[in-house]
Amino acid sequence: MRLVVIGVVWAIAAVAGVAIESDYLVSVATAMVFLGLWAQSWNVLSGLTGNISLGHSAFVAVAAYVTVILQQKGLSPLIGGVLGVAAAVVLAAIIGAATLRLRGPYFTLATLSAAAVVLSLILHYSDLTGGPSGIAITFAHDAPLELEFTNVRAYYLIATALLAAVTMFISLIRHSRLGFYVAAIKSSEEAAAAAGVRVALVKVTVFCLSAAFTALGGVVYVFYIGFADPNFLSGLTLSIQIALTAVVGGTGYLVGPIVGAIFYEALDAAANAAFGAAGGWDVMILGFSVVAIVLTEPRGLCEMAVRLARAIADRVQSATA
């Protein structure tokens, strides 16, 4: 049933995206979908296990750069993208194995450091990556097998399909054997191990899945933007944005990261429209809003909505009694 609902919502979102005439509105919607996809992918690791990652931009960057570099050498992005995702998964396996014993802030700092190392490597090996200048992707014609589309709605459709697929996958994971093991690990690693759960294997597996989904978004995003920008793709800002989006929406809900992405990008667009980006008002308004939400309801907007709905239902019930 959940999968059907996700499919229907995706179909509506896809049709709406194609029907909207304004390119600006489509670009805002596309930004929402990419951010939602990354936040949803982040939630596979951090929401399910409770370990907060601030290094997920590394997986976006590795997958994007591998794909673009291989494309420059003549390899189709469809094959390059698979290799890019594989590279991100290998990186996740290494980070996951190295941070097995770390929890809480120590785990977070380790992921943060890993992303910083990736950024440094990208900047250092400039012959391959273009260094601080990045790599521009130029194309004038539609070439679907090269992930090249002149109409941005194509990227919107691909991104929404990916988001729907990842959301379905997470829904299945939560009710699978792996979901049970992850829930046990989140409560107590010692108890999980005592019940026979291979804690290290499960943690690394979840880290790799999370990285793979994040990386998929990176592959499509870099062709949508048409530019491999090191400071955005592997920067701390993107990592924080991904984590904040999921937290603001609600990590305990399947739709939490998507709600967070809609809120984040809509507020950003509204603040930009009202005050312009130049003065930094958009960032300030976003920051204050995020702090206000986290202080009011640490479990995010979805929990806030559920509590509000319950309060209204109680009031209606008492009024009709």
């Binding site: 009710h175 699978s176 054997r177 049970f180 093991y181 829930a183 046990a184 989140k186 409560s187 107590s188 010692e190 108890a191 999980a192 191990a193 005592a194 019940a195 026979g196 759960v197 291979r198 804690v199 290290a200």
Partner: protein
């Protein structure tokens, strides 16, 4: 009866503190062995060594004829050597029955099979009504029994009970004692670490007394608790009446 578990000269120190010193004993198949000792005697350390949480400084542990050195906790649990904890370790984001199912899933059961078996296991411990509740709302005694149910789902050969009975109500205690006796009859062995002497006297066929990391006495429970060294070390001189109860 053959020995299911054999400990040989197990020693473990933490810095200058010697927690276990050349501890050796065996648990037979289907046997219930009691392990008592004052706080700090090394009982929990011993359980942690047996389950692979701590590596011993020296000595060896054989379980079902297999050397366990180097095996992680999960692997030992899958072999049938399981434990409970002094403090409850509920799976907070799941209902009680889902938390219990994990042991069955590890064993390879399907989710439907694991749920059915988990409900039976909860019923054995008198907790069928709590199956669909969140563990966040349950008292400590219930939570300890749910932990017990989870490891029973692994179809264990030996269960290490680390003060499972402490904090249980009279009703819960009666239920769990009956369950342990029933499981023992079915071939499950137990190492019962407990301060409740009535429980030890009812369950244990063999009693080991640990003090300051060494075994000071072992044998038939009623004889062991009358041993003057045990009375002095564990029960205290003024409590000799307990030993004669």
């Amino acid at each position: 009866m053959s020995a299911l578990l054999e400990l040989s000269d197990i020693s473990k120190s933490f810095g200058a503190v010697r927690s276990l010193a050349r501890v050796s004993f065996a648990i037979a198949d289907c046997g219930i062995v009691g392990l008592i000792g004052p706080n700090g005697a090394g009982k929990s350390t011993l359980i942690n060594v047996l389950t692979g949480v701590y590596a011993p400084d020296s000595g060896s542990v054989h379980f079902a004829g297999r050397e366990l050195t180097g095996l992680p906790t999960a692997q030992r649990a899958r072999l049938g050597l399981v434990r409970t904890f002094q403090r409850p370790t509920p799976i907070l984001d799941m209902s009680c029955v889902e938390g219990v199912m994990i042991g069955g899933l590890v064993r390879g059961l399907t989710i439907a099979q694991a749920r059915g078996e988990a409900l039976d296991t909860l019923a054995l411990l008198g907790l069928r009504d709590a199956a669909d509740q969140s563990p966040r709302k349950l008292p400590t005694g219930h939570l300890k029994l749910i932990d017990f149910a989870r490891v029973l789902m692994l179809a264990p050969r030996l269960v290490l009970l680390d003060e499972l009975m402490a904090g249980l109500s009279a009703g819960e205690l009666a239920q769990v004692l009956a369950a342990i006796e029933e499981l023992a009859e079915q071939g499950v062995a137990f190492l019962v670490v407990e301060h409740l002497m009535d429980v030890i006297k009812r369950l244990a066929r063999h009693l080991v007394v640990l003090e300051a990391g060494t075994i000071v006495a072992e044998g038939e429970p009623n004889e062991v608790i009358r041993d003057p060294r045990v009375i002095e070390a564990y029960l205290g001189k003024e409590e000799t009446d307990l030993a004669h109860a």
